[in-house]
Symmetry: C2
DNA sequence: GCATATTTGTCCGTATGTATA
DNA sequence: CTATACATACGGACAAATATG
């Protein structure tokens, strides 16, 4: 077999027996999650119980529990009698993802309008983005963008909205990992976040809603267009 | 041990070996889910691997996978090295549940305002409620109320909102199962659903929003009050 | 606080069924 | 159609953590 196919397998072996106060299945899920989110494990890859269990030095039992965890996070899909695969999202999935973001982030702004919101986390994320843009570190800019929208959703003041948004952002990283140049997507959005934050600062919540809608429409359209030309 | 404590255990045994095209863990999860949702398995109950596995005739392996499924649905909580328990919700959980309902159902009405919504499912749920009320079948009235709000959330036109709402309603049943007289809660809300439907029919979406908010505030307050007096 | 019994976490071997080359 | 690889599911085992007296 080609070396490229087992690269991630080799990288998994380095994770054997890392001491963890938590359960083994959580450790295994964590190791796989980072590989998936960072694009090392590509969508569609089959996660064979034998190979992965062997590489990580855990039994099939433990591994299957880890698969359940990742399945819950929608990072893998389990096909009965066929196995577990890294999730591959299609255009419909992307549309649904953005539909959900409109619900969650829209609710957050609506709540902010009645809440005297604390915007420090938003401001920090914008600064983080400005620094990343200045350093032309597009990976960091992508993270900053995620932090901004996670902080935005937090304005809703709801644990569940928080969790849902975290979930959605993890899936967004999965989407990006399917694209040719993931970082190029984030570059245009720093200014959008800046104006959105500015509108929130000045209490212009209606305008913030339309700015958010504009941002999400634009980002969705760009991703859908890129998804048509499937890339690498 | 008293007979009442093992009632649900006996009822589980009747479920052994039911033929299913699906996986064993799904079957087991389904059997436990109905017991939990219908209040046969009360919140706080410990789900012993040995007892339940024995009663259902499945191995511990399979049973633990079923526990994972129910854990996703937030119907049970897993405490490391202690086991899994039927989830017991507190006042904060109830508040967060309703906060989430405001987000989901509010988004649905907002989407309806731009969508020329199909209200047949809502109408069917109202009729179902009217029939149940006429027959003084309070359990059926509760189901009708759930169907109404599930159909309402469906107006959002989003798979994920759908799933989230289904999830939330399952947890609502868990809340009701902790109350002394679960059915008494649904009785006042038939008329609220009727007026909400009427407002949607006439395209008065702003009024529908406030009617929904009123309904949710009322329902939440009533549940919180009942939760203070923990009941049976 | 201690000793014991119970229960969970994890691994292994194996048999059966299902999908696919 | 056969053969092979793999997932599903069972049962047994043991250490470690927890509950119980």
């Amino acid at each position: 077999m080609a070396a490229t196919q087992s690269d991630w397998l080799a990288s998994l072996e380095s994770e054997r027996g890392s001491i963890g106060g938590t359960s083994a299945s959580e450790r295994v899920a964590g190791a796989l999650r980072t590989r998936i989110i960072e694009g090392e494990l590509r969508p569609g890859t089959r996660l064979s119980e034998e190979k992965i269990g062997g590489a990580l030095g855990v039994s099939r039992n433990t591994l299957r529990e880890a698969f359940h965890v990742l399945g819950h996070e929608r990072l893998v899909v389990h096909e009965f009698n066929r196995g577990v695969f890294v999730r591959a999202l299609d255009a419909d999935d992307i549309r649904d993802l953005y539909r959900y973001r409109r619900v969650l982030e829209g609710a957050a702004i609506r709540q902010a309008a009645v809440d005297e919101p604390d915007l420090t986390a938003l401001e920090a994320a914008v600064v983080e983005g400005e620094l990343a843009a200045a350093a032309e570190d597009w990976v960091a800019l992508g993270s900053a963008n995620m932090h901004f929208h996670r902080a935005l959703a937090a304005l809703a003041g709801s644990r569940r909205v928080d969790e849902a948004m975290q979930q959605v952002l993890a899936e967004m990283r999965l989407v990006f990992s399917m694209m040719a140049d993931p970082h190029t997507f984030h570059a245009p959005y720093l200014v959008e976040n800046q104006t959105l934050l500015d509108l929130l600062r000045r209490g212009r919540y209606e305008a913030a809603q339309t700015a958010l809608a504009h941002y999400l429409d634009l980002a969705q359209a760009q991703l859908l267009q890129a998804a048509q030309a499937p890339s690498r």
